[in-house]
C-alpha cells in the first residue's frame, strides 16, 4: 500500500538553454491531496505536462503507479484524469458528444457513460448546456466539462492544473468537496494552484517550486513549524520564494557573487 502513486526522481526539463525545471523529487501517496505551489513561470505546468506524457523529461524520471509517464503514456492514462488550465475543445462538438467521445475512448459502453456522467453533470449544473457546442462555453463551463471528462473513468489519480481559476464560488466549493471526497475514497489528487488558502484548506502536503527548483516539500503542519514559526502558509510561501533563497539558481551573476 505504501507504493507512491506519483514518484519523480531528479526530474528536469530544458527548453533550449532555459531550465524550466531541475532535479525535482516528489512523492504523492495513495489517498493524498498534494498541492503544487509556486510563482508564475516556476515550472508547475511543465511538471504537470511531463506527468501527463505531453513532454519528455530532459533528465530524471516521472512514474505514476510504477509506469513511466512518457514511455507508457497510453497505459498510464487508464489511471489518470487530467484537467488543463485552459481546456480547448473541438469547434463543432457539443458537450454531450465530447463526454461520449472521451468515454468511448476509455472503453466504456454508452450505458456506462450515461450512468457515470449524469450524476457529475447534475452536480456541476451543466445539464442545460450539454447540447451546445463546447467551444461556445465560458471558461468556467469548459473547466466543468473538462472535469467531467477527467472523472468519467474514475481515475486513481487526478491531475489538475489550477482547477478553480475561472470557476464561480459555488463551483469552486463543489470542486473542493469533490477533491476531499476522492481522497477519502483512497484516490489521490495532484493539483497546482496560486491560491494559498485553497491549498491550506484542501491538501495534506504541499510542494513549493521556485525558478524551476523545489524549495519546500512536506506536510503543511511541518512546513509551518519549520519555516514560519507556526505562521500561515502565506508566510511559508514568501519565506521560500523570496529572491534570496536559491543560491544555486540559474543566474550566473549570482553564482559568481
Amino acid at each position: 500500500m505504501d507504493e507512491p502513486i506519483v514518484e519523480t526522481r531528479g526530474l528536469g526539463k530544458r527548453y533550449g538553454r532555459f531550465d524550466a525545471l531541475q532535479g525535482l523529487d516528489l512523492d504523492v501517496r495513495r489517498g493524498e491531496v498534494f498541492a503544487f505551489l509556486g510563482p508564475n513561470g516556476a515550472g508547475k505546468t511543465t511538471t504537470i505536462r511531463m506527468l501527463m506524457g505531453l513532454l519528455q523529461p530532459s533528465s530524471g524520471t516521472a512514474r505514476i503507479l510504477g509506469l513511466d509517464c512518457f514511455g507508457d503514456r497510453a497505459e498510464v492514462k487508464r489511471a489518470v484524469g487530467y484537467l488543463p488550465d485552459d481546456p480547448i475543445f473541438y469547434d463543432f462538438l457539443r458537450g454531450r458528444e465530447l463526454i461520449q467521445f472521451v468515454g468511448e475512448m476509455h472503453g466504456l459502453t454508452r450505458r456506462e457513460i450515461r450512468q457515470r456522467s449524469s450524476p457529475l453533470i447534475e452536480r456541476f449544473d451543466l445539464k442545460d448546456a450539454l447540447e451546445e457546442y463546447a467551444v461556445n462555453y465560458s471558461r468556467g463551463m469548459k473547466k466543468k466539462l473538462g472535469m467531467i471528462c477527467a472523472l468519467l473513468h474514475d481515475p486513481t489519480l487526478l491531475i489538475l492544473d489550477e482547477p478553480t481559476s475561472g470557476l464561480d464560488p459555488l463551483a469552486s466549493r463543489l470542486l473542493h468537496e469533490l477533491i476531499r471526497e476522492r481522497a477519502r475514497e483512497g484516490r489521490s489528487v495532484f493539483f497546482s494552484t496560486h491560491l494559498l488558502d485553497q491549498a491550506e484548506k484542501l491538501c495534506d502536503r504541499v510542494g513549493i517550486l521556485f525558478k524551476g527548483r523545489k524549495v519546500a516539500d512536506g506536510a503543511l503542519e511541518q512546513l509551518r513549524a519549520d519555516l514560519a514559526e507556526g505562521g500561515s502558509l502565506e508566510v511559508v510561501f514568501f519565506a521560500v520564494t523570496s529572491a534570496s533563497v536559491p543560491a544555486e539558481g540559474p543566474d550566473p551573476g549570482r553564482a559568481r557573487a
Partner: protein, 781 residues
Amino acid sequence: MTGPASEDLRACRALIKVALRRKLNRIAAGFARHGKKQTATVRGATPPKAAGNRVLFGVLTIGILFYSGLFTANFYSNLERVAGTPGTSGASLTAPAETAIRLAIPVLLTVVSLALLFLNAGMANRDLGQVEWSLEWLFTFPVKSRVLLLSQLAVHTLGNEWGWFIYFPFLCVSYWRAGFGYVSLLTALVCTLYLQLILAALRVFAETWLRKHLARAQLKNVQAVCTVVGIVLLFGSVWMVLGQGQQGPDALLLCGRALGAPLAWTPFAVPAQLCHGAATAVSASFVMVLYAVGFGLGGSAGAGRLIRTGLIAETGAYQGTRSPSAARRAGTDRLGWFRGIVAKDLRLLFRDRSFLVQTLFVPAAIISLQILINPGLLHAIGSSFNHAAMTAFGVGAYVLMFSASRVLVAEGKSLWLLYTLPVPIERVLLQKAVLWGVFATGFPLVVLIGSLTRLEAFEFQIAVNTFMVFLGLFIYALIAAGIGALGTNLSEDNPRRQIRPAMAYLIMFLAGFYSFAIYTPEIWNKAAMVILCSMLAYAVWQRVRDHAPYLLDPTQAPPPTISLADGLGAALAFFVVQGFCFGFLTAEGRLAPGPGLILAYGVAGISVVLLTSLILARRHVPALPERIGFRRTPEDRIPAAGKALLEGIGLGVAALVIGKAYTFGIDHVEPLIHMKEAMMPHVEQMPEGTGVWFVLLAVLLAPLFEEFIFRGLVFRGLRRSWPKGVAILASAAVFAVVHPPISMIPVFALGVATAVSFERTRLLAAPMIVHAVYNAGILLL
C-alpha cells in the same frame, strides 16, 4: 496643440501600421524555415527570420506580377483572335471586334471582383469566425469607432494582395493596349486602389453585418459557402480568359453583348471606361471619385450604425439550452452507429463546413477547372478504361493530399485531449487515415462508374485495375496522412500553413509513382509496385510512431536511429545515381557498356554508402557502426567470426540450390515455362563483351553495396519494429521486387538467406559472403 482630428489621424496611422505589419509578418512567416527543434534561448520565441526572406519575397512578387501581366496580354490576343480579327499580326482590329471586346471587359471585371469579394469573406479571411477577433480588442482603445472602421477600410484597400496580383497587372496591360504608354502604370495603380477601396468598403460592411447577426459556428459555415461561390466565380473567369479552343472567350463575348452595356458604369467596371477616348475618360474619372467617396463613407457609416448596439451578435458565446428534441433533429444521433474517433471525425467534418469545403470541395473544383480549360482531357479519360483508372487514382490521391494530410491539423489545439486517453496517438491518427481513405474513394468511384458504363466488353484487366485503384487509394491514404502528420507545424496558427508545402508535393510525387502500377499490364510489375508502396507507407508510419510522443514537446525529438525510410531512400538514390552515371559514361561512346556498367555501379554504391553513413552520423545515431553491422558489440551473443563465415557459405549454397532449381524448372516445368515466355521480352540482353565485367560486378561489388543498403539499412530499419521472421520476409520482398521479374523468386530466396545470416551474426560481412557465393555459383554453373 493637438486637436481631436490629429489624434484620430494618429490613431488611424497606428492602426494601419499594425495591421500591415501583421500581414507582412504573416507572409514572412510563410517563407521562414519550419522545424520545431531549434534550440531557443527563450521559451516560445519565434525563430529569427532568415536573411534571404525579403529578397525571395520581392523576387516572387515581381515574378507573379510579371506572370499575371503576361497572362493578360495572352488573354487579349486570344480574345482578339476569337472576336474575329485578321490573322496577320499588327493589323488593326475590325470595328465590331473592338466593340465586342470593349463590352466583354466590364463583364470580366465584375465577375473577378465578385469572386474576390466572396473569397475575402471566405477562405482569404482569417479573422472572421476566429475565437480571438482582433477588432474586438481594438475596440477597447479610446478611439472612435468611425476611426477604427476607416482604418479597417484603409488596411483592406492597401493590403489585399489578391487584388494587387490580379487587378494591377490586368489594368496595366489594358491601359497599355489602349495606348496610354508609361502613364498606364500610374493609371493602373490609381484604379487598382479604387477597386480595392470598393471591395474594402463592401467587405467591412459585410463582415460587420455577419458578426452582428451570426454566432461564431454559423460564421464559419457562411465562410465556407462564400469560399465555394468565390472559387466558382474565380474559376469561371479563368475559364473565360483561358478556355482552350474558343468556348471560354466565346462565352465571355456573348456575356459582353448581353450585359456589357448595362454593366459598363457599375462600380467594378468603370475603370475599363478610361480606355475609350478622352471624353469618356473624364466622365469615368468623375464617376470613380463619386463611387469611391460614396462607398468609402457609406460602408464605414453603415458598419458604424450596425455596431451602435454592440460589436458582436448579442447571443455571442453560450446560447443557452437546446432542447433534446432539437438536438435530435439536428442530426446528432444520426451517427449513432459510429463510435470513438470515427464518430467524432464524421461529426466535425459534416458540421464544420469550411473544413468540408477545403478537404472535399476545393480539390474537386480544381480538377473540374482542369477539365473545363482542357476539354481534351475528358475525351482521353473516356477513351480507355486504363486511362479512367489512372485518372480515378489521380483524383483520389489529389483529394487525399488535401484531406488525409490534415489528420493532425484537424486536431489543432484540442490535441491535448487525445493525450489524456489510454490510446496511443499514432493509433488514433491511423484510424483517421483509414477514414479518409474511405472518403477519398468517392470521386474515383464516380470516374470509374462513368467509364464502366461506356464499356463494350468486360475484361479481366478491368477488374484488376479497379482493384488496383482502391488498393492504391488505401495505401496513399496512409502515406498522405503519415507525411501530413510529419510535416505539420503545430506552432503555426494559420491552419492552411500548418503543413509544409514541400510535403504536398512529396505526396503527389509518390502518387505519380503508383500510377505506374495501374498503367503497366504486367501482374508482376503491379505486385512489385504494391509491395514497394506498402513498404513506403510503412516507412512513413514508422516515423510517425517515432514522432507521435513528441508532438506537444517544443524541444524534444525522438532518439535518432535507423528507419526503414533511410533504407528505401538509399535504395532509390542508388538506382537513380547508377542510371545517371551509366547514361553519362556510355553516351557518345565514352566507355564500352561493360566498364561503364561497373564504373556506374561502383560510383553509385560508394557515393550512397558514404552519403548515408554521413547523414546517419550527423544525426548522431548511437553505436552506428554496430547497428549497420560494420562491427559487432562485445555483448552480442552470436557465433564467432569463423563460424559466421562458414554459416555464410552454407546459406549461400542453400540459396544457390534454390536458385539453380528455379533456373532448371523454368526451362522444364510446364507452368514455369509459360511464365518465362511471358517475361522473356523484359529480360535485357547482355551487350557483347560485358561478361567479365559482369562477373566482377556480381561477385565483388553487388554484395558490398546491396548488402549495405538492403540488410544494413532496410532490414535493420524493419527489424526495429517487427519480429524476426516478418522482418526477414519483408526485407527479402523489397530486395526481390527491385530486380527484374524473371529473377524475383530466386532473389527472394537470396534475400531470406542473407537476412537470416545478418540476423544471426550481426555482421554485414556474413550476408556479403552469402551474396557473393550465390552470385558466383549462378554465374559459374
